[in-house]
Symmetry: C2
Subunit: 226 residues, 2 copies
Amino acid sequence: MLVWERPEPPNRPVPAPLDRERIVRAAIESADAEGLEAVSLRKVAGVLGVGPMRLYGYIASKEELLDLMVDAVHAEIRPVGDGWRDVLRSLAEATRQAAHEHEWLADLLGGRPQLGPHALATGETVVAALGDVDLDAVMPVVASVNAYVIGAVRREIAERRAERATGLDEKRWQASLGPYLERTFATGRFPALAAVVRDAAHLDADDTFRIGLDCLLDGIEARISR
Amino acid sequence: MLVWERPEPPNRPVPAPLDRERIVRAAIESADAEGLEAVSLRKVAGVLGVGPMRLYGYIASKEELLDLMVDAVHAEIRPVGDGWRDVLRSLAEATRQAAHEHEWLADLLGGRPQLGPHALATGETVVAALGDVDLDAVMPVVASVNAYVIGAVRREIAERRAERATGLDEKRWQASLGPYLERTFATGRFPALAAVVRDAAHLDADDTFRIGLDCLLDGIEARISR
DNA sequence: CAGTGATCGATACACTGTATCGACTCGTAC
DNA sequence: GTACGAGTCGATACAGTGTATCGATCACTG
């Protein structure tokens, strides 16, 4: 068929410009807005106006995308302070802060080794601030603080989600968790637990986090100044 | 059609007897053998000789199955010892041990509040052993140890998996992580980190875990005996 | 200008969790 | 003894997933 009667090719749109940063940003926005389980390659590609397979030019798997997301958040974690204790506390608070802004981070933290440039940069800052600490003690100290933060943040976010799930409509709450614990404790099988839950002061999340962190830092201090 | 020429109904098999315990056991075996991501309701139902939808008579969602799996493992976590410190240490070691036997536990720990009977029983044991501790201090103390354990175990399992992934064939290892860090450190952007990784003593996982735990327990001791 | 590699996205595959619904069984009321 | 109602079981279906494959198209090199 001659060109004259052949229609123009269907206006093939210029392929949307793409790079890892754009992809990761879109993924993070999705995760922030709708949770991690709502992040799919199809949706991410969708908001970028692109076919799903296009992403595989920039990442090799979804796992890699998640790794990139975590590393991107590490860019926001900039511990500051004077001396090792300040910096470790700052690291902990900043990580917790990041997880508050990106709840999905709690699902990913500690799930895979963090070796991205921003994670390494954070590590560098921290380790550099531990210059006056015995070299052999640096790794276990940083590791322990990281471990504590990961676990504490996970628990905190998990609790927050559980509350939100029931709290969304008061009915559900009334019909589920509170009374469940009531009934369970009423069996008398967990007297000590029941006593603590009923009679002890209920700390908020901030205080709980800080107390544990202080304990850990105290213990570290005792150990490295020995 | 008369019965005489109508074939027997196709030997409808007696429905396999089922209960939550059987389901959970099958799921745990799957997860132990092939990892958590290989656990699907179809497969679990399959090994039980049952259609997938049958499971929904016993659980309301896959999440609930995972909750049951975690609680089942909590039955193996029986902290023992004299005094609060022994018991907290025992709790930590037992949890870590459980995660070594069921690596998928690392993916689930801290992901959702643990309110199953076995988890509560573990909590009861621990809290009971903290009888001589100020009531208001019990919750944050237990929470901090739990947080540390969750994070430490996660990191440990994550590292183990990463090693295994590359270690399965030596080629991959040589081509991926080791040299990656080499090259990255060679850029000179992470001098302090590089120094630690190169010059510091490399502790094994057991020691790393114990050092952090000791720090935390030391800090707790200082705080509650104040 | 021909050919060659890279890039793009449509299609396809195997699989997921779970809603729906018809077929069937069984205990009970008449 | 029979009709009915409730409940159980599993086949089918649906919407969605990550990713392999591959033909079409593009930009660039000889």
